[in-house]
């Protein structure tokens, strides 16, 4: 379960999140929609622990524990996963080597025995096959020279391997064609479970045709303006965000 309580975040002198509150229960898929520049990516980065943001007030809890004082790797070990909008290219680090380091770092943090290479290879191959991630991609340096679609599939592969309790998908549909969108969405859908919460951040309703949310939240001007069911996404698609931008400098 993910709980965000009255979260205020500033970058420099500018307040970006202004008291955001949202709960995503176990098993729930919540979608956050909102116009550009409203702080959606800031929210995902703050939850994951990126430097450069100042939390002035509020809490973020994963399964009841406030994670805001934890380093990014400690948050990951507690079951948080952020699928990046722009997965970072790391030339020189082989994808397989990275997957092993990632899995074993989290296993160590939880006091579990490390995976040996043959077991790891088997695990990765099976998960990769489901997502259409080729062996050739696994041999390449991490995300290097990958297409937009390949990068997003690699993010979902990592999520499938890590089995987080809270998954945040930041604009996962950006840069995807319809086929890739379907593969990525199927990957996410197959990970839905009563023990797992998802927060899906997106501009467009399109992604939500593939990943059906339980709740939809409109974010604008640094707070959740309105919450509702899946029908809210359709309404936004029709009317746009203009109703929520009143009062913002025109």
């Amino acid at each position: 379960m993910l709980e965000i309580r009255n979260l205020h975040v500033s970058v420099g002198d500018r307040e970006i999140l202004k008291g955001l509150t949202l709960t995503v229960k176990d098993g729930e898929v919540a979608a956050i929609m909102g116009p550009n520049g409203t702080g959606k990516s800031t929210l995902s980065y703050v939850i994951a622990g990126r430097e450069g943001y100042e939390v002035t007030q509020g809490e973020v809890l994963i399964n009841g524990e406030n994670i805001l004082d934890l380093a990014p790797h400690e948050r990951a070990a507690r079951g948080l996963f952020l699928a990046f909008q722009y997965p970072v290219e790391i030339p020189g680090v082989a994808t397989m080597q990275f997957l092993k380091a990632m899995l074993n770092a989290q296993r160590r943090a939880r006091g579990e025995p490390e995976l040996q290479t043959p077991d790891l290879m088997k695990l990765v191959r099976e998960a990769a096959a489901k997502l259409g991630v080729s062996q050739e991609m696994l041999r390449r340096p991490l995300n290097s020279g990958f297409s937009g679609g390949e990068k997003k599939r690699m993010e979902i592969l990592q999520m499938a391997l890590l089995e987080p309790s809270v998954g945040i998908l930041d604009e996962t549909d950006s840069g995807l064609d319809i086929d890739a969108l379907r593969v990525v969405s199927d990957g996410v859908n197959s990970l839905r479970s009563p023990q797992r919460s998802f927060l899906v951040i997106t501009h467009y309703q399109r992604l939500l045709d593939y990943i059906r949310p339980d709740s939809v939240h409109v974010m604008a001007q640094g707070v959740i303006q309105r919450s509702g069911g899946p029908e809210l996404a359709l309404e936004l698609e029709k009317n746009g965000y203009r109703d929520y931008l009143a009062g913002e400098a025109a």
Binding site: G49, R75, P141
Partner: protein, 433 residues
């Protein structure tokens, strides 16, 4: 007569008088004269601009007396080991029994006594290396070393390892000169290893070492140098002087682990058509270490190729230097030269001086260079940490990847694993920043 200006000069004069009696008097006199004309280089000498050797050697240590101990040396590589300890070639510590056919090994003393023209030309190369004051001082004061010749057409499967060890517990000055002559069409692997013998070894050793490589027509040499710097007050100059004839191919990799003030000088003369040399390396330095790699590649003939890729990682208050100069002479058309040096600074206190240069006097060449300094990419670091890697582990993974960029051409997987393991060990010792 040049007037001796200071205490250091007087000490070197006395040491020269001593070494004059041990053979090659004329050669030594020529080198000493060249040294006197230049003096120890300070920052006003362009090629030494970032490393003030004159200040570092203001008090020259006494000449090494040699060491009669017979230490048990751990074996790191499956190699034909040739050991120089405290300035003296040690046949008893070397693998001289059952040398493969086509390989001849002798001490520098024997080689000087032979006065063989082929060996002399290897031991006293011409060009930029010969004009360097530290190399000239080495020529005047060289105490011993090992000279290896490989017959034409021979292929030696096991690497020939030149081991330079320091074991004396008191500060000493050590001057060694070795040579590897690879005959026409021969193919050889070599390893150059330098380090201290044990923990009690003095931390103020002054070492000046030259390894001269002479690659004859169509010969091939694959080489790995692993230099572990000596203690905090040590001053060491490791010169490599390579001379390549036509179609000769040299592939050289180096791993420098800093220690005190350390200068690595690489001189290469591509003196025949279609000669090719590559120099790649990783330098690691921390604390107050000063690690300088200075490279000079001289393209004298057409169709030559030289590729250089260097990576430097500096932590704490370390100072790094990379100076690289590629010269293409008027006749050296169709030269292909690429030089790249990148550094990562892990602390605000570290300093990198990065200076690549091209001097091109031919009009039909392809040459380029690039240099960069910076800190670790923060986006990459966050990405890895967001996947669960603790900061130190994430930094190490990125730094290994960075270093690996200059190691991708090492063809021998054991050498490559060895270097990666050393880098991993160095990284494991650091506190994440």
């Amino acid at each position: 007569m040049i007037k001796l200006a200071n205490e250091a000069d007087a000490i070197y004069e006395a040491q020269y008088q001593t070494m004059q009696k041990s053979g090659a008097a004329q050669r030594r006199a020529g080198s000493y004269q060249a040294f006197l004309e230049r003096g120890l280089p300070n920052r006003r000498v362009e090629s030494w601009h970032y490393t003030d050797l004159k200040a570092a050697l203001a008090k020259p240590a006494p000449l090494a007396a040699g060491d009669e101990r017979k230490p048990l040396l751990a074996r790191t590589h499956d190699s034909i080991r040739l050991v120089t300890l405290d300035g003296k070639f040690r046949p008893d510590l070397s693998d001289l029994s059952e040398l493969p056919v086509g390989l001849r090994v002798r001490s520098l003393h024997e080689a000087l006594a032979d006065d063989n023209p082929e060996i002399n030309v290897a031991l006293w190369p011409d060009g930029a290396g010969a004009e360097d004051a530290a190399v000239a001082l080495n020529g005047a004061l060289m105490q011993d070393g090992v000279v290896v010749s490989v017959s034409s057409g021979a292929t030696i499967a096991r690497p020939i390892e030149f081991v330079t060890l320091v074991g004396a517990s008191l500060p000493e000055a050590i001057f060694t000169r070795s040579a590897l002559i690879v005959g026409a069409g021969a193919s050889v692997k070599a390893i150059e290893t330098a380090g201290v013998l044990e923990r009690e070894t003095s931390n103020a050793t002054q070492l000046n070492h030259l390894l001269a490589l002479r690659l004859e027509h169509d010969s091939k040499l694959d080489m790995l140098s692993h230099i572990s710097g000596f203690g905090g007050d040590s001053v060491s100059v490791f010169s490599l002087n390579a001379h390549l004839a036509s179609h000769a191919q040299l592939k050289a990799h180096q791993l420098i682990e800093g220690g005190g003030l350390l200068r690595r000088q690489l001189f290469a003369a591509l003196d025949g058509e279609f000669a090719g040399a590559s120099f790649n390396g990783v330098t690691l330095a921390r604390g107050r270490q000063h690690a300088d790699t200075t490279l000079f590649v001289d393209h004298r003939q057409p169709h030559g190729a030289s590729h250089e890729r260097f990576r430097t990682i500096l932590d704490e208050h370390a100072i790094g230097v990379f100076q690289g100069k590629i010269v293409v002479r008027p006749g050296a058309q169709k030269t292909d030269g690429v030089m790249q040096s990148k550094a990562i600074l892990l602390s605000d206190g570290a300093t990198m001086n990065n200076k690549p240069e091209l001097e091109i006097f031919a009009d039909d060449v392809k040459c380029g260079h690039g240099a960069a300094c910076g800190r670790l990419d923060q986006d990459q670091l966050f990405y890895l940490m967001a996947r669960g890697l603790p900061r130190g582990e994430a930094q190490s993974l990125l730094l290994e990847a960075f270093a690996n960029e200059s190691l991708i051409d090492i063809s021998d997987y054991r050498s490559r694993d060895f270097v990666l393991e050393r880098i991993g060990g160095w990284l494991a010792e650091r506190t994440p920043s």
